[in-house]
């Protein structure tokens, strides 16, 4: 996979317990300064897979904490989440995750 210079790629996988079933992919947010784009899609594996591409390097521990909290809240299984981030605060990340999850709830 090609990664633009300066971007950091982070991958996370959480074991889910609530199968999301089939749903139309959900896109929330836009790529812009302090913002991010998030694509939530069905995945064949019984887990919640997250791939983050971010322009703000060195915040892996905060990404993990934000995503872990999200996962503990929803426990989604059979989904994959792709995030393209341009320095969004954890507040924006959490809001986008909540918006996407609400769409398939």
């Amino acid at each position: 996979m090609n990664t633009a210079p300066g971007l950091e790629t982070l991958r996370f996988e959480f074991p889910g317990t609530k199968p999301a079933g089939s749903f139309a992919p959900v896109l929330v947010g836009v790529v812009g300064s302090g913002n991010l784009e998030l694509l939530l899609e069905p995945d064949s594996a019984p887990v919640c897979r997250v791939t983050v591409q971010t322009s703000a390097r060195g915040f892996g521990n905060i990404w993990e904490a934000v995503l872990r909290d999200f996962h503990e809240r929803h426990r989604l299984s059979g989904v994959s989440i792709a995030i393209n981030d341009m320095g969004a605060t954890p507040a924006v990340v959490s809001l986008r995750l909540a918006q996407a999850a609400a769409e398939i709830a």
């Binding site: 904490a65 934000v66 954890p90 507040a91």
Partner: protein, 550 residues
């Protein structure tokens, strides 16, 4: 035998020294420095009118031009240090002591001058506290004020920006002090009289109009979705929960978002008529849509706001206006109104610690407080009941006995912050910078803006922490950590304790409040641009040029 009228004697001497410069009460602008040298004496306490909006800027400049061999060691007492001239007088050796409230724009330079020993700060005050001391132990000998217009008798018309003027003039004029006013124009007949001429000694027609800063204008285009989310939580979790009818909003985009959500989200919750009827508030342009939708019954203001003049004139049922139709603001009365007659204060801050103390002081800057500590404090002298105040009081005292359990109400004091400010600066800290600042500037107390003891709620994008429900320091700490998100303070939370607080309703997440994150978009704002605000006002609001972006 003691002379019991030495201050009257001194006043007579000063007036006679200045008499050759004045015709009736008017002094030519070119003679202003000479006037100040005639009436001022070393060691005088001088009140220079300067607040966060209106500035006696011509007199401030003239004061920097006096000869420091004749006029020195002045003790400046003033609301706000906003202009470079306000600090030049200390650099020039004209003044040496300072008592004030707020120094936002000059905060860094003030800190430098203090550490260089060029000035001594008596104390940093809230506005009302400083005005109070004008009548006790900080009475000005000379007051330098600003007004819109004067007539031949020295009567003054302040226009909509009356602000601090009545408090300053009252203190000086009735203690044998000298009152000097700069005015924008001299007219035969004033639209109304805000300060009687008998209280004014000299009038200077300034060559340029006095500065007024449009400090309370927020462009809705800059409101973020997170601010929309937080505003939804404020309206549903606090305004609706307590039935808040009488309130004050601090300055900033967080509270502007609330104002712009009342006619949309508030309306959808059926809250019109149940919250937000009476305000102690400057004429915030962001409140126009709520006013137009019929939410607001009354607004009393500290000062005015540039561009709102015609709108205010056309909405005299809502605003306090004179017989001439223009706003009459009054900072002292509005501060009293905010303290005693409002049930809620909500505002932003820069740092919050584990006890809920909040401060806008950061290292290297002595910024002061302004009015926030007075609004953001429980009013211990209050005795009248209201739904919101009584409910908060019951919650805060539930289960307590003796003096602390005696029934009384409590002001709702809400601190509203995103967990990270710009550049990932955490809003939650283990230790406020205020402590270090107090050590560096040798202050007797850290400059805390709102004490944790007074804060009833902390609202972040993570939820609401109801501190008034906490009973121990440990609970309070975990409640703060529980809404501190992914800051170090937030990551350091005891997860079980926080979940326990959530079960008890001490911490409420957006989903606990029934706030749908999908609604948290800018589409929920009743106005999304300056142009929208103008349209909402029916073309009556005329924003200053810098906000005209269409």
């Amino acid at each position: 035998m003691r002379n019991w009228s030495s201050s009257a004697d001194s006043r007579r001497e000063r007036l006679s020294r200045a008499a050759p410069l004045a015709l009736h009460k008017q002094v030519p602008a070119a003679q202003t420095v000479a006037l100040l040298e005639a009436v001022l004496q070393p060691g005088d306490r001088v009140c220079l009118e300067g607040n966060n909006q209106k500035q006696a800027d011509f007199l401030a400049h003239a004061l920097t031009q006096v000869d420091p061999r004749r006029v020195h060691d002045l003790h400046m007492v003033q609301s706000v240090l906003a202009l470079p001239e306000h600090l030049d007088v200390f650099e020039n050796g004209i003044a040496s002591r300072l008592d004030f409230s707020f120094s936002g724009p000059q905060a860094a330079r003030l800190a430098q001058l203090v550490s260089a020993g060029r000035l001594r700060i008596g104390a940093i005050h809230t506005y009302l506290e400083l005005f109070a001391r004008y009548f006790v132990d900080l009475t000005p000998r000379v007051a330098l004020i600003a007004a819109q217009a004067a007539d031949a008798d020295g009567n003054l018309f302040t226009g909509p920006n009356t602000e601090d003027t009545p408090a300053i003039v009252e203190a000086a004029a009735f203690s044998r002090g000298i009152v000097i006013a700069q005015v924008n124009e001299i007219v035969d007949t004033l639209p109304r009289i805000d300060v009687p001429g008998g209280w004014v000694d000299f009038v200077v027609l300034a060559p340029t109009h006095n500065l007024i800063e449009p400090l309370f204008t927020r462009d809705p285009a800059k409101i973020s979705e997170i601010q929309v989310l937080m505003a939804m939580m404020a309206i549903k979790g606090i305004y609706a929960e307590y039935g808040v009818q009488r309130l004050n909003h601090g300055i900033g985009f967080d509270t502007a978002a609330i104002e712009l959500l009342l006619p949309t989200y508030g309306e959808s919750l059926g809250l019109k008529g149940r919250v937000g009827a009476h305000w102690a508030l400057n004429p915030h342009p962001a409140l126009i849509p709520a006013i137009e939708a019929g939410w607001v019954e009354s607004i009393h203001s500290f000062g005015s706001e540039l561009g709102m003049e015609d709108y205010i004139r056309a909405r005299s049922d809502v605003f306090f206006t004179g017989s001439d139709g223009a706003l009459r603001s009054n900072r002292a009365f509005c501060q009293a109104a905010g303290h005693y007659a409002c049930d809620l204060f909500i505002g932003s801050t820069l740092q919050i610690d584990l006890a809920g103390n909040s401060s806008t002081a950061t290292l290297g800057r002595i910024a002061g407080f302004g009015g926030a500590p007075n609004m953001g404090a429980d009013s211990r002298g209050r005795r009248h009941g209201s739904e919101a105040w009584l409910k908060a009081g019951r919650q805060a005292r539930d289960g307590m006995t003796g003096a602390r359990g005696t029934p009384r109400g409590q002001k709702l004091v809400v601190q509203m912050v995103e967990t990270f400010r710009e550049h990932m600066q955490p809003a939650f800290v283990d230790r406020l910078d205020a402590w270090t600042l107090a050590e560096q500037a040798q202050m007797p107390l850290p400059p805390i803006m709102v004490y944790g003891e007074d804060v009833t709620h902390i609202l972040t994008e993570e939820g609401i922490a109801s501190l008034l429900l906490c009973r121990t320091d440990e609970e309070r700490e975990q409640a703060v950590r529980g809404v501190a998100g992914y800051t170090e303070v937030g990551l350091g939370r005891d997860r079980r304790a926080v979940e326990n607080l959530r079960d008890r309703g001490v911490i409420q997440r957006p989903e606990d409040l029934g706030v749908d994150p999908r609604l948290a978009t800018r589409n929920l704002l009743a106005a999304r641009s300056m142009r929208d605000l103008v349209d909402a006002s029916g073309g009556l609001y005329a924003p200053p040029a810098r906000f005209r972006n269409w």
